[in-house]
Amino acid sequence: MSRVRATTWRPGPRLRVVLLLTPALLVVGVFVVGGVLQAVLQSLGFAPVVGESQWTLDAYRRVVTDPVVHDSLLLTARVSVISTALAAVLGTALALLVRRLGGRRRLAALFHGTLAVPHLVGALAIGLLLSPSGLLSRAAYRLGLVDSVQDVPALTQDAFGWGIIAEYTWKETPFVAVVALAALSRRVSDLEDVASTLGATRWQRLREVTLPVLAPPVAAASVLVLAFVTASYEVPRLLGRPYPATLSVEAFQRYRDIDLTSRPEAMALAVVIALLTTLAALAYLRLVGGLTRRSL
């Protein structure tokens, strides 16, 4: 029995850091690292709790040869790349516009408000706006552009994914704009002034000063958007079709399938999604490394 009083015992600096980090690392370790490991194991035939484990690559074989998955991959890539590109370009343009216009605070508040709208509500809003009997269709009827609901092109539950793209672009453009606006500080204006003094034209100033400053934060924001859009569930589930569905919807459907052989396929799809988003993040790290070296 040691009789060291609690107040006199003080953990060393190393131990203290470990203790401070333990709760957070436990959450990430158990859930994220453990979750990814479990998805990998279960995609390879590991069956915890119920059934016998049989190690096999069958799930991946089935997933890779399944035409449904091919269409799903195509749709996911199309939707996430187009939404991310639109959000990046429009967000950057919006930030530059807002800076030129002034009235920055009110428009920034508007963007912040849009950021806070849950994607579920965004999906509802876009549905009520763009569906065949939605507000835009009614406006088109009033203007004499269409004669009945049948004439309206399908913008939600469409094969291309326009409804999904519209929701993501609407929600993520303000996000990129907020990040870009934060990067357009006083220092940037000073640099631009220097460039003008040295005889740079407006276009040169934009290309050689403003855009290089904006590139790293906008690229960072774009990767977050891409990772999010690739994996999010409720928007493509509500605004897309059951077939072809995005990878996340497909994974969830297979997980919920009564046929238990679909489970390993769901896990394989989860692993594919995790791989795709991680690759996007790694690509970004390289990209940003290159960009920051080039500028400033």
Binding site: V32, R138, A251, F252
Partner: protein, 265 residues
Amino acid sequence: MTRSPWRGAAVAVVAVVTLLPMVPVVLWAVAGAWRYPDLLPPETSLRGLRLLAGDGVLGALGTSVLVSTSVALLACLVGLPAGRALGLHRFRGRRLVQFLLLAPIIVPPLAVTLGLQVFFVRYGLADTVGGVVLVQLVPTVPYAASLLAAAHADLDTDHERAARVLGAGPVRTLLHVSLPLLRPALVTAFLLTFLISWSEYVLTLLVGGGRVTTLPLLLFSAIESSDRTAAAALGLLVVLPPVLLVLALTRVAGRDVAWVGVSRA
């Protein structure tokens, strides 16, 4: 900066496009019968708003508040020490820890949770509020930790040292010196994690099994049913708290990471 007549027009266009999708939500929430091709509802009705006072909605509102408050509290409790370690200490493996803490932002929580669901079932956490709260720590702890790490990096530790020299114990120093200094960051982290949890749908569905009914779950089934008025009214109930919170947050938060978190909600 030149003031041209285009200025007002450009601001108006940006504002209209940003707000446009919310217009049909507000209209449908108060619409009576609204048939195609009427541009505006010919009659208003309080049916949608009255639905919000029903037992189902009030119950879901209670569950949502309970889940989101618990998630925000726990995320801050877990994020505070981690933020202290990352913000104040230089140690080996610091970058690895930072990377690990950011992993949930890149690796989607849905992919992670599919693999863990079996264990939630085995340990009796499936279909419970506790299980839902636990799984929602995944998307929230990274933001709490990085916000609080940034706050600790700005923290002047001389105040803490002075308190200790003057005889305050570690607990008193924490309660009377450190926490008050960190209050703005803690408020931001709490509101932000509350917001992320408030909007969460798929993790709640997966772990809660449809038995832990939060407002997003109710909203989802309302959208799937053909009752647009009910869906729109519920949509307003779901969207108002986060928008108001964020507009309040605009005053206290200046950090980029906060906006990243808000947009993930």
